[in-house]
Symmetry: C2
Subunit: 228 residues, 2 copies
């Protein structure tokens, strides 16, 4: 009768979502990872999601949604990923790596999976400090989404809706890395780079690499990333 409750954890193959998966386990859930194949150029992140889930003995589901059909982002189209930007530039505007409505779509899909699995907890590794200017990483959006999700679903109507958990939302990248390290996350399995080499090596120069590198430096933890 006291079965471990399931939680759905959105997995991107990156550092934040891997930490989130570890937090969901720490919180006492049996996590099911959800990886989204949205036509991203950096496909190695799907493999990274599977490696991360496997290392933490979690199930992983992959769902396909072709956001490339819309275009409008450097992460799905042939638009150059910005490189070598300073901290101020990174945080001052919404970059071309923004994918229209991405977290809205991802959370909606995760809500559907929660309903099918009977899961009432949904983890997403957004953070609004090092958020790089993405509007869909803000707590205000997450709270509003949770409200909409619970009006949309049969589970919500029946009082068994989802709680969207964002354990990283107010942490710095360094704090996230320290937390994950304490919880045993193997960050060498993760890929954060927006423009990795075909072999999955990180460029070291895009916004995501810049934030990740700085995070390991500030945490005082060796950076296991394979740079090109």
């Amino acid at each position: 009768m006291s079965e471990t409750p399931t939680a759905v954890v959105l997995l991107s193959g990156g550092l934040d979502s891997a930490t989130c998966l570890a937090v969901a386990k720490r919180d006492g859930f049996a996590p099911v990872g959800l990886a989204i194949d949205y036509g991203q150029r950096h496909r190695c992140e799907l493999d990274a999601s599977k490696r991360v889930a496997e290392a933490m003995h979690a199930d992983v589901r992959t769902i396909r949604v072709d956001l490339r059909a819309f275009g409008g982002s450097a992460l799905t189209d042939n638009i150059d990923v910005p490189k070598d930007r300073g901290e101020h530039e990174i945080s001052s505007e919404i970059p071309v790596t923004y994918v229209p409505a991405r977290n809205l779509v991802f959370l909606s899909l995760a809500t559907g999976l929660c309903e099918v699995l009977g899961a009432q907890n949904l983890y997403i590794g957004v953070n609004q400090l090092d958020y790089s200017g993405y509007p869909d990483c803000r707590g205000e959006f997450i709270a509003s989404f949770q409200n909409a999700a619970n009006l949309a679903t049969k589970a919500g109507v029946e009082g068994k809706g989802v709680t969207v958990r964002t354990p990283l939302i107010d942490l710095t990248k360094a704090e996230i890395i320290r937390l994950g390290t304490e919880l045993g996350v193997d960050y060498s399995l993760t890929v954060s780079c927006y423009d990795p080499s075909p072999e999955g090596k990180a460029c070291g120069r895009c916004d995501s690499c810049t934030l990740r590198k700085r995070g390991f430096e500030q945490a005082g933890i060796p950076d296991p990333t394979r740079y090109a």
Copy 2:
């Protein structure tokens, strides 16, 4: 300079969304239909969406998202579609044809397309009177979704977010049919049936057929549906 503004219209191939497309044109928009290939068993509705858009000289985009990977619905799985139910039964509970989080996912995708096209109007043909017990057809959900969508997107942050328009929300099926007929909708192109024959003929007995048939009767308009 006075270009006709674009609106995105969610198209299901059915009667309601065809009417919605006609309303968007009447409202002065250049509508772009969005058909969602979600792994539905009744695939002929995708062809219907294209026929409907073509007849109204509207562009149509199709996006694929594999909701079948989740399961949990008679519309995607091998679960029997209920037949020959009375009006009371149809409206009294959420049926097995409910697809988890479907309108949440569809509206999220449409929000992304709006942002890419610079469209600030999004039409969806939900109605809460003949809503057959689907929670994601209620006005309360739509209002909450619009709020979340505009917090999620770059367009929303920049004050160019979407308005979700639901012109059919308080109409009966008969009123919808009268409205569409006035606007020149050819309902013979639409498919509402949950369980059509391989040739696209309607079963005449599922909840959707029952509501549609009754709507034509009450509107006093000949029903052009091809029944099996």
